[in-house]
Amino acid sequence: MAALGSYQSGWGVGGAALHYFANFPRLLPSDFKMKSEHNRGLDWPISYQDVARYYDKVAQDVGVSGDAKAEEIWRPAGKPYPMPPMKTFRNGELWVKACAEHGIRLAPACVGMNSTEYKGRPACIYDGWCHIGCPTGALSNPIVTYLGEARRAGAEVRARSTVTRVLMNKEGTKAIGVEYYDADRQRHTQPASVVVLAAWSAQNPRLLLNSATAKHPKGLANASGLVGKYMMCHFASGTWALFDEDVQNHLGTTGAQFMSYDRYPKTSHKGAFGSTFIVAGSALKTSDLGGFANARLDLFGPDLHAFMKRAARGLTRLNAFGEELPNVENRVELATEKDEFGMPLGRIVHGYDEDAAAVWNANFEEGLKIAKATGAKEVWSGRGAMPTIHLMGGTIMGTRASSSVVNSYGQTHEIANLWIAGPGIFPTAGASQHRLAKPRAHESIALCRRPGASGRRASAGVSLEGGEAGGRLRARRRHGRRHARGGAAPIADVGAAGNYREQARREHQHRCGRSGEGVGRRLYAALDRRDHVRGESVCLHAAAVRPGEGLRAGDGPWHRQPGAGGESGAAV
């Protein structure tokens, strides 16, 4: 079983955003004021207006395609996006009218992808393989954006270097660097004036807790006892619609072609509390994660074969993402087991509350109504285990040291030269950022706009010349060599044989020089995090993952559930 939120995690230089979908929707002003407006959850120490210009800046930095004017029916006006919206295809377009009939307006999804050439990176070719790592450089992952920039400016990247703790001075007043282990398991220290933890929402608290000293017996920056608390995620309600005709579902982007905030107000669904963000029109492959191989888990053998054959032409999906409220009981804490370096593992305790379940259910109900309005031959809910998507919280920001871990710039209240970056500092989750840490990270950087302890400006201009596009991107295809076996196989004969899983594998090998098997394995490489943080849930979705226990494609909870397609939350 998968660890909480784990399939959005990732490792390797570039992190999880190597395989994210680059959806770039924003939070709305209400997300920042949930406590004051609804007396629920928490308030942020800052407002939408404080971060708005950074949203605009990041859009320019990384290259976002979209229609800002169209979005401004839901959010305050900002700058136009640097590129026009992406192309749309029938698998997205057919949702527009059906949604409108139910009072849901769809706008072009804003995505960190190139609809035109941008900063030396090519325009998207709409082959729909975003989720396994964009092979062309059209998608703005860290390697072609900020990380390339950092390297060119002289930043040194040491791979296979596992940070095990933050080191403090004797007085306990200042971080002096970090301890880490290299690929040969040799211990090193890296002294530094400033330490930034950007290791994952669940990993950052674990590092803080594991760095306890005599002066900080509960862990660093943890006088409040809130390190590791308020872990949050998103959940998705996916609805399938199957047509007889070809809906071009292999084309587009994995994320979405259209989006809507019309169910975003916190009380949109009667009897439930929390935002919903709707997307329509994902490119679908025959794969299991991000595709439709698990859209009908009740089918086997010839029935599955027949379904896959139809689905490969006629299946499309509407997805509604829901917001989980911050709950202090949802937490990362240290486990008794230790990792290979002798450091205690993390353990996640998490359960969804009634509001989350109610929003999830309401979105299935509404999704089904909308799907029926498309005129599809068959429609059904992709209901499996309640998914845990996009891990947030654990080191939340606030104005007071007694009720938060960091300030609005990501700087810990307790130790001036220790910073946290990423969505771990979010006090509420919203529903819209179903893209991974990246934009959130940008946002947290946006929040670091003030000169910090060493006088730097974390928001100083970050431009991008591109240039690392294709080559660097393909650098992720580590499985290629192992699976290459003399080059790509032709696609056509496989389809004729009717083996669609095999077809997917070969198609991918053909396009990207790597087998589909590798695709699954790469995605699931993310689950290697099980060695560090294992999920333990009191709810229905994720059970314990023990260190060393193998996790492979097919082991996720979405594979185990009866019913259809629990993987509906695969969007990142």
């Binding site: 490792w11 390797g12 230089v13 570039g14 992190g15 955003a17 190597l18 860290p142 900020y146 990380l147 920039e149 950092a150 060119r152 400016a153 002289g154 930043a155 040194e156 990247v157 040491r158 791979a159 296979r160 270097s161 596992t162 940070v163 660097g177 970090v178 880490y180 090193h188 220290t189 890296q190 002294p191 530094a192 004036s193 930034v196 933890l197 950007a198 290791a199 994952w200 970056a421 990423g422 969505p423 990246k438 959130r440 990270a441 950087i445 670091c448 060493s454 730097r456 400006r457 970050v462 080559g471 650098a475 295809r477 580590r478 290629g480 290459a484 080059g487 790509a488 020089g513 790597r514």
Partner: protein
């Protein structure tokens, strides 16, 4: 390009995680002339090990 950081040499900032978030910090600080080291537990995916053609 800056000279490589020597073993044990103090830098301006060390970042745990060559991630989306870490890379923004890294880019911003490096461009401001600060000496930055990113530590990443995973591998640095290389082109040569990646595509069938290049890696064959």
């Amino acid at each position: 390009m800056a000279t490589p950081v020597k073993s044990g040499e103090k830098v301006d900032a060390v970042i745990a995680g060559a991630s989306a978030s870490g890379s923004v910090f890294a880019a911003t600080l490096a461009k401001a002339g600060k000496k930055v080291v990113l530590l990443e537990t995973g591998p640095d995916w290389q082109l040569s090990a990646a595509t069938s053609r290049a890696g064959a």
